[in-house]
């Protein structure tokens, strides 16, 4: 009998040795004459347990992890007999960290073979597209609106309204663009879904194409994600072979095809208009809005541009799940959010859950506090442009409006944990430095403001005219916030001002530096 095992090929798992483990398993098994079939999946997102190896059993897939190379010999014994092992974690789905989640978008991630269209279909894939093919454009748009889905890239704009605008526009061509330029530090959900369930992204984009009358799509993936590029390209080829991309999809009259385009290391290209410029082959300079991309987007044509997670949420919604999706969440934040826990955290990974969970639950309970075991001091939510939250604000529920009310943002759902060794003045300086490095240069507040901000924070850190310079930084942040063209310059003040507000003590002159400043 062949023993079937599953090992992730997700970049996060590969980075900690999954490739070596998969090879060693096969070698050790073959030496013993044991028949073994290794299926490479995406990651379940429990990264502290990677590399994780799962064994198919009649009771479900039993997980082992984190597996080191020296564990492989004993692990093969346990796999052969479905027997005990120190790394045995029980049935994967019953691991509490996974069981507590509500996996709608990530239901298949880590479960299926991301290169197999058959596996995708066997796990409910393409049910949404099959239904969408029988619906009118209006009916598809109604489902998306009913679900309450808001853009998961960070801005939270209602997806249904965006799609409807494009559907109603008249043009010779329309485009569907997937923003896979996931540049925010602390976020990796787009990468995971592209590597672990790429057909979900393709299906979501295809449904968008049918809904708005577009026949061409582009997925713009950052060059820092070579594994995601490979996985998406393989899935696109498989979808074409399977007749779910190309002409006459599923035998219906709709045509839709798409291709991957690779970025070139510019963070600002995650901003949608900069991304469109880049796709057109230009410098990634942001465009002034209006016109909105929905009216004049790629090559001047009406364009749906959404984040990977927005498209990946669509198959569930169109497979009859619009109402069920909307039933999750709180306030105007409906459905689930794939939250990403990282940095100095004990249990880092992907936690998809309904909106409404508090920051404290996420960090202390689910994240298990810091990996170093020191107290949590600050948490940055929403990437490099997100605010730093102190423990005093841990009662904030994960919700677009609740974070905004506390001068923060949930952005793309990244939560980065810092322990008490963090220097918040240094973090504030880094926010300005990052903005200076990545500014596209089109508007002055962002281009010049970030450099001046960095210099001024340096003066504060050296103890030069601290209170005067703090006032300058605040004034500068105000100019950047209201005077910048896009979120890069506009939101850099969030980490800076939150660090100042909640961690003021870090901006005072350190006693040892007083002398040097004189």
């Amino acid at each position: 009998m062949t023993t079937r095992v599953y090992v992730s090929r997700d970049a996060g798992a590969v980075a900690v040795g999954a490739e070596d483990i998969a090879q060693a398993l096969e070698q050790v098994a073959s030496k013993r004459g044991m028949a073994i079939e290794t299926i490479r999946t995406g990651s379940r997102g429990l990264y502290w347990l990677e590399p994780m190896v799962e064994l198919a059993t009649p009771r479900g897939r039993v997980a082992f992890g984190p597996v080191a190379i020296h564990d492989v010999v004993s692990l093969v014994d346990a796999l052969a007999s479905d027997g005990p092992h120190p790394l045995r974690l029980g049935v994967a789905e019953d691991i509490p960290w996974l069981k507590r989640q509500t996996r709608l978008t990530f239901a298949r991630c880590g479960v299926i073979d991301p290169r197999s269209l058959e596996d995708y279909r066997a796990h409910g894939g393409y049910k949404g597209l099959e239904r969408a093919l029988t619906l009118t454009s209006d009916a598809i748009l109604a489902d998306v609106t009913t679900s309450g889905l808001r853009g998961r890239g960070g801005a939270g704009f209602p997806t249904g309204i965006k799609w409807k605008t494009v559907a109603q526009a008249h043009a010779d061509r329309k485009f569907i663009v997937c923003n896979a330029d996931e540049g925010d530090s602390g976020t990796f959900a787009d990468r995971m879904i592209m590597e672990g369930d790429p057909f979900a992204v393709i299906e979501g984009m295809t449904i968008a194409g049918i809904a708005v009358g577009a026949t061409t799509g582009y997925i713009y993936i950052r060059s820092e994600y070579p594994h995601a590029v490979a996985a998406m390209n393989a899935a696109i080829a498989a979808a074409r072979r399977g007749g779910t991309l190309g002409t006459r999809i599923g035998g219906f009259s709709h045509n839709f095809d798409l291709e991957v385009r690779v970025g070139a290391g510019a963070y600002v290209c995650g901003e949608e208009t900069s991304l469109l410029e880049s796709l057109e082959g230009r410098r990634g300079l942001v465009r002034a809005k209006p016109p909105l991309p929905a009216h004049r987007g790629l090559f001047g044509r009406p364009t749906v541009i959404n984040n990977v997670l927005s498209f990946a949420a669509i198959p569930f919604i169109l497979a009859g799940g619009a109402k069920a999706y909307a039933d999750f969440g709180m306030g105007r934040s409906r459905g689930t959010m794939p939250i990403q826990l990282s940095g100095n955290v004990k249990f880092g990974g992907l936690f998809e859950t309904a909106f409404g969970i508090t920051l404290g639950e996420l960090v202390d309970d689910i994240g298990g506090g810091t990996l170093t075991g020191r107290p949590v001091r600050a948490v940055q939510v929403g990437g490099p442009l997100g605010a730093y939250f102190p423990r005093a604000l841990f009662d904030t529920p994960f919700d677009y409006e609740a974070f905004a009310a506390r001068d923060g943002l949930i952005g793309h759902g990244g939560v980065v944990v810092f322990d008490d060794s963090v220097d918040m003045a240094k973090q504030a300086r880094f926010a300005m430095e990052f903005c200076a490095i990545e500014s596209c240069g089109k508007c002055t507040p962002c281009r010049i403001g970030s450099t001046r901000g960095m210099e001024t924070i340096d003066k504060i850190r050296r103890g030069e005219s601290v209170s005067k310079n703090l006032g300058l930084v605040e004034d500068l942040c105000n100019t950047m916030k209201f005077g910048s063209l896009c979120a890069l310059g506009g939101f850099t003040p969030y980490p800076v001002l939150s660090a100042l507000k909640h961690f003021r003590e870090d901006f005072g002159p350190a006693p040892g530096n007083l002398e040097a400043a004189e």
Partner: protein
């Protein structure tokens, strides 16, 4: 070690440009293809790209310089990129970057005198839950600590 890249050759460059010049918005596609072949984007290729796409030379040069990925000369034989973004900072990345700089005797962004190693910062590999992370010649590495960074440096210095 033999370079994995071809030497610049005008005819070969023209062939690569022609291969991609018909796709919509081809500039980045072509620049990537040139760099994949030659290891950098040779200056001589810029006017060739411009003429293939009916852009001005300045426009193509502008695109080339806008994006961090494109190189104007060959990097070292090995390229080690260390993530310097927040999640890796929180996990001790600053210390490891300083250690790598000291061990190699160069700053981030520089290449060793023997042209063996280029050390660069990168802002997020999406490996934040296995931070600190790096990518060496396209191979991702996570959960870096002193021992692992030392091993990577020993590997590139071999």
């Amino acid at each position: 070690m033999i370079s994995p890249y071809e030497s610049w050759d005008t005819a070969r460059g023209a062939e690569i440009i022609a291969e991609h010049s018909q796709v919509e918005g081809a500039t980045l596609v072509i620049l990537h293809a040139l760099q994949d072949a030659f290891g950098y984007v040779p200056e001589a290729a810029i006017p060739m790209v411009a003429s293939a796409l009916s852009f001005s030379r300045a426009e193509v040069y502008g695109v080339f310089t806008f994006y961090h990925d494109f190189r104007e000369k060959l990097a070292g034989r090995h390229v080690l990129k260390l993530c310097r973004a927040e999640a890796c900072q929180a996990a001790g990345g600053d210390r490891l970057a300083a250690r790598a700089e000291a061990k190699l005797g160069i700053a981030l962004g520089d290449t060793t005198a023997d042209e063996r190693v280029t050390l660069e910062p990168i802002y997020c590999l999406g490996l934040c839950a296995t931070a600190p992370s790096a990518i060496l010649d396209g191979r991702v590495v996570g959960r870096l600590d002193e021992a692992r960074i030392d091993a990577l440096i020993a590997e590139v210095q071999r």
